[in-house]
């Protein structure tokens, strides 16, 4: 699990939609040691203009071929730089970083709920859960941003898709699909969620109402990505007079039980 500083070769890059790219990167170390929920921290410039690494979730691995995948949406200069890379070029990467989702053979029925770029780590997760009944609920802004749907279908027993504008799947939020599943017949053992803050907060509230365990993967702006600079703070419950403390997304997370998080 230990993160290393690596210079790894890009083996392929594919444009999945207007702004979303999937990149396959050769890395013995990361393909062997990573777990769903972990991320890599990538340098996104050659000189010193963009100093901060960009955290991107690991979206899958191929241990035989010694590769791992990332999928990212172009947002600003860093992800744009990544989108313009070519196979054969090398990237300066630290990884695998952070902790992982907790998997257990005891979880017979699992719900996976993702919104937007939050679905990428969840695909890796759904893929690695082998012995459970899996229902994946994924939400996008609109049909033009739908990616990875087939892959979710392959590795889940059921998939629910929704868009904010109704251009594909149901016109709904992921949390509405989730509520329906929670009110259905199946007794769910755990919910795994990743997506926008407000979505995860709602997922947490639903999980609490239904008394179901829930793990979320948080986002925060990062510096070092290795737990030293203390930039990526998040409020987590603890014993003591205040009842909370600042933990760090890059080291203590990104995955937390939603019941530990102080939602604001």
């Amino acid at each position: 699990m230990t993160a290393k500083l690596l210079y790894e070769e890009i083996s392929s890059i594919e444009r999945l939609s207007e702004r979303i790219y999937m990149m396959r990167i050769k890395s013995e170390h990361i393909s062997k040691s990573s777990k769903p929920g972990q991320f890599v921290n990538i340098r996104c410039c050659e000189g010193n203009e963009l100093l901060l690494r960009r955290p991107i979730s690991i979206c899958g691995t191929d241990i035989q071929k010694g590769t791992f995948d990332i999928t990212f949406m172009v947002k600003g200069k860093g992800t744009q730089y990544l989108s313009q890379r070519k196979p054969g070029e090398t990237l300066d990467i630290i990884g695998p970083c952070g902790n992982a989702f907790e998997l257990s053979e005891n979880y017979k029925n699992v719900l996976v709920a993702g919104g937007g770029i939050g679905i990428f780590p969840l695909l890796y997760l759904a893929d690695m859960i082998r012995h459970s009944n899996k229902c994946s609920l994924i939400g996008f802004k609109s049909s033009s941003e739908i990616v990875m749907l087939d892959r979710f279908k392959t590795c889940s027993n059921k998939v629910g898709v929704c868009t904010d504008d109704g251009s594909a799947g149901e016109k709904a939020f992921v949390t509405e699909l989730l509520e329906k599943e929670l009110n259905g017949k199946i007794k769910w053992d755990i919910i795994y969620a990743c997506g926008p803050y407000e979505m995860m907060k709602k997922v947490h509230m639903l999980s609490a109402e239904h008394g179901i365990k829930c793990q979320v993967s948080l986002e925060q702006r990062m510096g070092c990505g290795i737990g030293a600079c203390l930039a990526c703070a998040c409020k987590i419950k603890c014993r003591g007079s205040k009842g909370w403390t600042y933990k760090h997304v890059c080291k203590d997370g990104p995955v937390f039980y939603s019941s530990e998080v102080i939602w604001e």
């Binding site: 340098r43 010193n48 100093l51 925060q220 702006r221 510096g223 070092c224 290795i226 030293a228 930039a231």
Partner: protein
């Protein structure tokens, strides 16, 4: 035929404040933690020294996130001195950090002069090699109050000096009218060295949310963006004081470090560099060695302040 100059292995050792450093590159406070995380990437024993994350009397939670933003060739931070407090450090971290074969500098901060004195007293009884007085953090209100005027610098430095049994470094803020005057005040008050610069107060705005990126609104700018300002301030300071100057601000390479040394620094610190790449300090050391070796200079000490002004 041209005669090839015999390459020599230059001497990187320096001695300042009565302490020996194996090379002049020290990890800057707040960017290297207490060394634990970095030790997985780089042997801290390769560094000249480590300035630890700022310590306060009581534990501090620091500021609300977001605490970091990227600006052109720079970063803005508003971590706000999050730390577990001096007692926790002495009990749980000191033993570990002392295992690294390098000079350990404790960076201290507080709300009042008596806070600074209290921590200094406690640290004086330990094995840390030196104390760096952080009277310049822009991310908390109190610190800069002491650090921004010569009178303030003099008062806090002299009071800490009375109780401090270790070499004392005073770290200056660039957010001030005349940094050289503050440096001279620290020297008069008994400081053993000056370090500068801490971060420059700055701001970054998200035009879509129409709000500052940092939750604290303002934050401290560091990285290559501040280097020209830092160099000028190090030069002005080194020209005015006799005690050694430790220069920092945007050092990312051996060549950057050489600029600071020529400007008058006896040693340098690198902060943002560690955040960019956990092994960059080592590259800086190697870069200094290469420069000296290429020039046939025997010791890094020879070039401190060697700058010729136009």
């Amino acid at each position: 035929m041209e005669t090839v100059k015999k390459r020599i292995k230059p001497d990187l050792n320096i001695e300042i404040m009565g302490l020996k450093f194996k090379n002049p590159v020290i990890a800057a406070s707040g960017t290297f933690g207490f060394g634990r995380e970095f030790s997985k990437f780089i042997d801290p024993g390769l560094l000249g020294g480590i300035a630890l994350k700022a310590l306060t009397l009581e534990p501090r939670e620091g500021n609300k996130p977001p605490r970091i933003a990227e600006t052109p060739s720079g970063i803005l931070n508003s971590v706000g001195l999050q730390n577990p407090g001096i007692e926790y450090f002495l009990k749980n971290e000191l033993i570990n950090v002392k295992k690294y074969n390098t000079v350990i500098i404790a960076n201290i901060a507080g709300n009042s002069i008596s806070d600074y004195c209290g921590i200094s007293k406690k640290l004086s009884a330990t094995s840390v090699e030196a104390i760096e007085l952080n009277i310049s953090c822009p991310n908390v209100k109190e610190g800069t109050v002491f650090g921004s005027t010569p009178e303030g610098v003099y008062e806090i430095t002299s009071r800490v000096r009375e109780v401090c049994g270790k070499p004392l470094i005073v770290k200056l803020t660039p957010n001030t009218a005349d940094i050289a005057k503050n440096a001279m005040a620290a020297e008069r008050a008994g400081a053993d060295a000056i370090s500068l610069i801490n971060t420059i107060l700055g701001m970054s705005i998200d035009i879509h949310t129409e709000r500052p990126v940092l939750n604290a609104n303002y934050g401290g700018l560091s990285g290559p963006a501040v280097k020209p300002i830092a160099l000028r301030m190090v030069h002005q300071t080194a020209s005015c004081v006799k005690i050694p100057v430790i220069g920092m601000g945007g050092i990312m390479s051996g060549d950057d470090a050489i600029e600071f040394i020529l400007a008058g620094a006896s040693a340098v610190m690198a902060g943002t560099a560690n955040i960019v790449n956990p092994t960059l300090c080592y590259d800086i050391i190697m870069g200094i060695e290469r420069y000296l070796s290429d020039k046939g200079i025997k010791s890094v000490k020879e070039i401190t302040g060697k700058l010729v002004m136009n």
